[in-house]
């Protein structure tokens, strides 16, 4: 064979093989793999799915020259130079940033990252000079609210759904232990001497039928012993504790929360009939509640109090209301005097009249606040903007605004999420959908709704409610959507607003698209060995008859054996078991604190009585993993 011919054949073969090889390789990837990953993580920006910023946390640099802003859905932290209100640096994070802390020298930024889709938490240690992530420290489920000890040696992080706090050696960059707290720690702050870490638990951990005592608690942690030295209960009905700060003298912790008046029928709104929006004042040294104050006016609510901060001179405390988009400014020294006068102020609208004022903000979903001297920097989660309010007293405020990025119109899902949290839709702005359904999940309370013959019922999760009609325990609301559905009925009965499609239709979109948070009981995203065994038990004793996969409900009514002294009905809607790990208490009356109690209820699951302790444990583990 002529070598020239052979060489030609060879080169042709190579070209063909290379062409085939590239074709084969490419078939693996576009459009399948990468758009899939980007879409699922919502990182692919399309006309219909714009990439929003969603600023959710702020921290001021020690030199007060700049502010770092955690932009949650954009998965980035940006640095804003205060002198110009301009973004001067963008730092990408591996997951959604949920909280920020900074070292005293300003050299190191600590960013907690986690998301509903990837809830395994981490602390990203960022070099503030370069903006590079230097180290990632694994922590707990849905980690948030990092707090650095005054000596800079220890970092504390709330693991929201592990119900504990990570203790991290900030020098070595390793987690050294966990401190268990009550339920769903959401925010934390540390005293100036570093002796006490204050942690707010965002939900109560009791039976909803415990009407005399159900409330959230604030944990005071002794940082020397790493133990909870006091667990301070707030007024009955308190929930949704989303922020805490310490007074400059280190004596008091101020924490925002709601109080649900769940024992009375929800027939009106004025005067905080259903919800009032409050602030707790905790005496740190004595480990008790010094007082609790109403932030609302008699004829106007300031819904969903969220972030809280104190001006540099210690004269004023600012409280953001994410639902009504207002900021309450209170004279702090006078507030503390009133708080220590011995009179319960938690239901007294007049108590702080004259020492407070409320101002409207341009930001939407105002969740994050940082103070530099007498300037309050407010971030709007839904407006992707910042508002700077100069506080010189209870009047005479000055304002400046800046956008954090290009204005992107809300798509249906985002608009629905905003509507869900927007209390300006509500009569007198007392509450939003979010008030009873924080993050669309239950507030753990029983409510008597504004419907005929209503009796107490435990709040249901809205996750998959669109797909699992009926949406109410007794079936009074047949579905989520539609003219008789929960969404439009809720707008009318709970917001006291005539439903209209401009408001309701985006809510439809938002609620039908809700996705579960991966269970903290999974091991590396998989069922544990115990849960695998429990899955078999689940089928063996017939749990799957009423709770069939994939949503673990047959969408039918059954008698689960829950004794109800208020209602003659015995048949109740079967709830989905997805996210059962976070929806305590259980049953239509919320009369069972944990899954074990519910499973072992004889009329609920006859087979459970015959289970060995191991099988029962495995079954609980499986249900907790869904």
């Amino acid at each position: 064979m002529n070598p020239k011919y052979l060489l030609t054949v060879f080169l042709l073969l190579m070209c063909i093989s290379l062409s085939n090889a590239q074709t084969n390789a490419i078939q693996i990837v576009p459009p399948g793999l990468l758009p899939e990953i980007l879409a699922v993580n919502r990182d692919l920006e399309t006309a219909q799915n714009p990439k929003y910023l969603s600023p959710t946390a702020l921290i001021v640099s020690p030199d007060k020259q700049s502010i770092f802003i955690a932009e949650q859905t954009a998965k980035q932290v940006v640095q804003l130079t205060c002198a110009t209100n301009a973004i001067t640096r963008t730092m990408l994070m591996p997951n959604e940033p949920t909280g920020l802390a900074i070292s005293k020298d300003g050299a190191t930024l600590y960013v907690t990252c986690a998301s509903d889709r990837w809830p395994a938490g981490m602390v990203c240690v960022v070099d503030a000079a370069t903006g590079k992530v230097q180290k990632r420290i694994p922590v707990g489920h849905m980690a948030r609210s990092p707090v650095l000890s005054p000596d800079g040696k220890t970092l504390y992080v709330c693991n929201w759904f592990n119900s504990d706090v990570s203790v991290i050696d900030a020098v070595a960059g390793t987690e050294t232990g966990r401190i268990h707290v009550t339920r769903e720690p959401y925010a934390s702050a540390i005293t100036p001497d570093g002796a006490t870490l204050v942690v707010t638990n965002s939900l109560p951990d009791q039976k909803a039928t415990d009407t005399a005592g159900i409330a959230c608690k604030i944990a005071l942690i002794n940082t020397a012993t790493k133990t909870v030295r006091a667990s301070v209960p707030l007024p009955v009905g308190s929930h949704s504790l989303f922020s805490v700060c310490i007074t400059p003298d280190g004596k008091f912790a101020l924490a925002t929360h709601l109080i649900g008046r769940f024992t009375i029928p929800a027939t009106t709104l004025s005067g905080g009939w259903i919800h009032s929006n409050n602030m707790a004042i905790v005496d740190i040294a004595n480990g008790n509640l010094a007082n609790d104050v109403e932030l609302d006016n008699t004829n106007q609510g300031f819904a969903n109090p969220w972030s809280i901060g104190i001006t540099g001179d210690g004269k004023y405390v600012g409280v953001l209301h994410a639902g009504s988009n207002t900021m309450t400014v209170i004279d702090l020294p006078q507030l503390l005097v009133k708080a220590q006068a011995g009179k319960d102020l938690s239901h007294d609208f007049t108590a702080i009249y004259g020492i407070k004022t409320a101002i409207d903000l341009t930001t939407k979903g105002s969740r994050a606040l940082a103070m530099i001297d007498n300037k309050a920097y407010v971030a709007g989660y839904f407006s992707d903007s910042l508002e700077v309010v100069t506080i010189t007293g209870l009047t005479g405020f000055t304002y400046a605004q800046c956008a954090l990025g290009p204005n992107k119109p809300m798509n249906g899902e985002r608009q629905g999420e905003f509507n869900f949290t927007d209390a300006t839709l509500c009569f007198q702005k007392w509450q939003s959908c979010f008030s009873c359904h924080p993050f669309t999940r239950p507030d753990a309370l029983n409510w008597i709704l504004n419907t005929p013959n209503s009796t107490p019922k435990n709040v249901k999760s809205m996750l998959y409610s669109w797909w699992t009609p009926p949406t109410s325990w007794a079936g009074k609301r047949p579905a989520a959507g539609g003219i008789d559905g929960s969404i439009r009925s809720g707008i009318q009965a709970e917001l006291f607003l005539q439903p209209n499609e401009v408001i309701a239709a985006p809510l439809d979109t938002f609620l039908m698209r809700l996705k579960p948070v991966t269970s903290p009981h999974l091991v590396k995203g998989e069922l544990s060995a115990s849960a695998v065994r429990g899955k078999a038990v689940f089928a063996t004793i017939g749990c799957n008859q009423c709770h069939p996969a994939p949503l673990y409900t047959d969408k039918s009514f059954h008698n689960a054996g829950v004794v109800d002294p208020f209602d003659a009905n015995t048949q109740w809607d079967t709830p989905s078991l997805i996210e059962a790990w976070r929806t305590s208490p259980y049953g239509h009356l919320g009369s069972y604190e944990n899954i074990a109690d519910m499973i072992q209820l004889r009329a609920h699951s006859l087979g459970a009585a015959q289970l060995s302790a191991q099988d029962l444990s495995d079954l609980i583990e499986f249900v907790s993993s869904l």
Binding site: F10, A21, P31, E36, L38, Q48, G525, A549, P550
Partner: protein, 293 residues
């Protein structure tokens, strides 16, 4: 590839200077080389063991491993977060003129499904969740804009771009994801196959070796129904050196990490071994493992 061709050309030039016998020898060498290199190009590029996804700040976000059938066709992948937390497994099924990719979670519950099909000028695709709801807000199209460059468009508007980079041997080794202006947003590093995959016949499941090195094997596999899974290590001469796993698994997705050092592996000298994972006696995946202490 270029270097190899130059070497062959040199050999050809040399052979013309050293008589007929040398020419014949050169021809034989050349034919052999052509066959080997053609196989190498196809085999290496057509099979990818793993893709690691990074953002433009070099944060490692995700990785995906791939599974192949007896013909070497890619039949699925599994996606993990950077800390090896399992996210989902995707399998491919023919659907009309295209392919439907179905992704399930740890509990075999549908996460989402992507359908791809040829369309005018490119490949159309859409991803829906378990309720059939579109995840992109509309169908997308991947169109080749130039050699190794693709535009991902929605309603004729480019929303991002993909750029494929190949090594000198033709192996795909990097994919850049660019925003619509062309700036890098993410990139993927491609790990070609680490060993010859030789599945035989239809398997009752799929498996991928995430890594097999230094005496440790990380594997993921999914079973259509319960089955016996066996992982063995062989010397290069075919002698079985160790049985790393031999047990029954339930249907569904599984993952494990195992070390030969817990299986009497300390008796074995350093060197290369072949690791094979069989499902009910059928080889699902195999690869080479370097044992070094």
């Amino acid at each position: 590839m270029t270097i190899a061709v130059k070497k062959m050309r040199n050999r050809y030039m040399q052979s013309t200077q050293h008589g007929a016998s040398m020419k014949r020898a050169a021809k034989i060498r050349m034919i052999t080389a052509a066959i080997v290199m053609t196989w190498f190009a196809i085999g290496q590029a057509a099979r990818i063991d793993r893709i690691d996804i990074y953002d433009k700040a070099d944060n490692h976000l995700l990785f995906a491993t791939f599974a192949y059938d007896s013909t070497g066709a890619n039949i699925g992948r599994s996606v993990f977060t950077s800390d090896s937390t399992f996210l989902r497994t995707t399998t491919f099924q023919p659907s009309g003129t295209g392919v439907k990719e179905t992704s399930v979670d740890f509990n075999n519950s549908l996460v989402f499904a992507t359908t791809t099909a040829p369309s005018a000028g490119g490949t159309a695709f859409s991803t829906v969740d378990q309720f059939g709801m579109d995840q992109f807000g509309g169908a997308m199209t991947a169109t080749q804009s130039s050699a190794n460059n693709y535009d991902i468009s929605q309603n004729t508007t480019v929303v991002c771009k993909e750029q494929y980079q190949f090594g000198a041997d033709g192996t795909l080794n990097r994919i850049n994801i660019l925003d619509k202006s062309g700036s890098l947003t993410y990139y993927a590093l491609v790990t070609p196959t680490t060993g010859a995959l030789s599945p035989v016949g239809a398997t009752p499941g799929r498996a991928s070796l995430i890594s097999a090195n230094r005496g440790r094997v990380n594997a993921v596999f999914s079973l259509v129904h319960s089955g016996r899974v066996c992982v063995e290590a062989f010397t290069l001469t075919g002698r079985r050196a160790a049985v790393l796993v031999d047990k029954m698994f339930e249907g569904g997705n599984h993952a494990f990490a195992v070390s030969v050092f817990g299986q009497g592996g300390s008796r074995f000298p350093n060197g290369a071994y072949v690791v094979r994972l069989t499902i009910d006696g059928v080889t699902a995946v195999s690869g080479k493992m370097l044992l070094e202490r």
